[in-house]
Amino acid sequence: MKRIGEAMKRCSWLGVVVVLLSVISTRAQTASPASGTPTAPPASAPAMTAPLDVKAAQPPSADDLAKGDPSGTRTGTIADVVVSDTNKGLTLADTVNQVGQNRIAINFVWTLIAGFLVMFMQAGFAAVETGLCRAKNANHTMMMNFMVYGFGLFAFWVCGFALQMGGCAPAGTLGGASPLNSEHSISLLGKTWGIFGTHGFFLSGVTYDVGVMVMFLFQMVFMDTALTIVTGAAAERWKYAAFAISSVFMGAITYPLFANWAWGGGWLSQLGVNFGLGHGYADFAGSGVVHAVGGITALAVSMIIGPRIGKYNRNGTPNAMPGHDIMIVLIGCFILAFGWFGFNPGSTLAASGNGALRIGSIAVNTMLAGCTGSFGALLYMWLKFGKPDASMTGNGLLAGLVAITAPSGFVNTVSSAIIGLVAGVLVCYSVEFVERVLKVDDPVGAISVHGANGIWGVISVGLFADGTSNYGGSWNGVGGSVRGLFYGDASQLIAQLIGVGTLLGGIFCLSYAVNFVIHMVVGQRVSAADELEGLDIPEMGALCYPEFVLKPESIPASVTASKPAEIKAPLRVAQETA
């Protein structure tokens, strides 16, 4: 009996499909009748609002449902399709609407879950940065990473999201998000240059919309990644108040401005439409928008704030200041690698339609680049210094992930592996260059991991994009797929270089100017006495490890040989108490 019942159910489903197909083919036959043969008068198609024969589909009865459904065959049937008019019952329009809603629901869930993964990357960054700092600053470093989430989110809600996405145009994969349709543009040299959006302040008014909420969450967690990068470069000497002000400004203005130009319909994305430069500046998931903005701002803050006491001798040679917990650094790297599965594949903003099934390729590209990045750094350090260095290997993994972020949606696996390998070696060279040549102190290597490799990622789009992707038939308003120099389009590389110039020239200058003003008004750096004691007590009021006995700081004699007295005095106190 059971088998007969199930066979009848399958027949009834077939019946529904046959009805639908006959409706569709009837309409097609009406549009293009075969030539030369007399056609039968078209059968009248059921109206969209005509009720469908639900009983033919044999939905499970209430008694059947009450018995439970261990196999799942009675759960999710025609009875679950939302009916717009209970008096009429289920109609063809209801069924078609459900198909559309299902597609958008799939995309919502995918985008939100990806966003949750990226949010969790905050824990990864906190772990990496705190582990690479000294124990006496662990509370302070951890608190910067903890609260950058809150400061950034608040600033983004107030105005950052509006400036970034207020005029980004409807996002088809998220049901339209049509309220984001107001971009402030200027007309220059005969072209329209989008500068910033103007809809979405406080997510109120017309932007109180389900699609906009999904977009906000996803964009916010990306913004926060950029903000947290800066905390690593300025760690161990950054005033907490100055960090707070700097982060709020970056979340409200600096990041959203560049993000609008790249992702919000602004002028960088329109370089293809306006000037024939490939598909305009293409940055799939944010090597430039997120990582390079963070790394470049980190460079600006590090320059203003200066190096840690004891980092450099009087002759300019650097001293190593190892972190206090390699284990947490590498665990943090794994957390970041896990979160990156939300960062890159999630940037399709879809798992249904518009080429979204490429999410598997994007995830594999991401993994591969991280893998070869760690190989590159591991081999470089092992060959040059005789040992595989743990912190640089971790940074190599991150460098590969940063570099693949922009090209992940446009390249194949071989290119991904190459991009990651180059990134792993590049980060090692860059760390040495920043420390030894520029004499800029960066405790965690943020400038090299995110700045240098973010730029490498942007450039690699212009080299390796292979033209096989298809996200709705166009990108940035230009038809066809993104293609780089090695696949026949040099103009795409030019668009990427314009983006690099904007990051290095425009964003650096803005970040430098803002942080210089903060330095003049509030002061960016703690006092020498606080820095030598460790920031946990003076800035946070509590040690991260209150039960541990921290060894007294030993500063090389070449540093303390001369003034200023404020450096010498706390040393004497530390030596006396020790």
Binding site: G306, L497, L504
Partner: protein, 60 residues
């Protein structure tokens, strides 16, 4: 000198944009973009950074 470095960086950013608008030649666009990036790097990493290193805490 810090201001000179920043102005060099701004010039290295804006001049290629104007050039890209005014010419269709891919070769010129590529060359000017690369020159612009080089100018920016000189402005930031050489001029501006040197001014900061001059007053660094370890030189006191």
């Amino acid at each position: 000198m810090k201001l000179v470095g920043l102005l060099l960086a701004l010039a290295g950013w804006l001049i290629p944009i104007v050039t890209v608008v005014m010419t269709q030649s891919a070769t010129i666009r590529m060359a000017v973009s690369l020159a612009g990036i080089a100018t920016i790097l000189v402005g930031i990493l050489v001029v501006l950074n040197k001014a900061h290193v001059k007053e660094a805490i370890w030189k006191a």
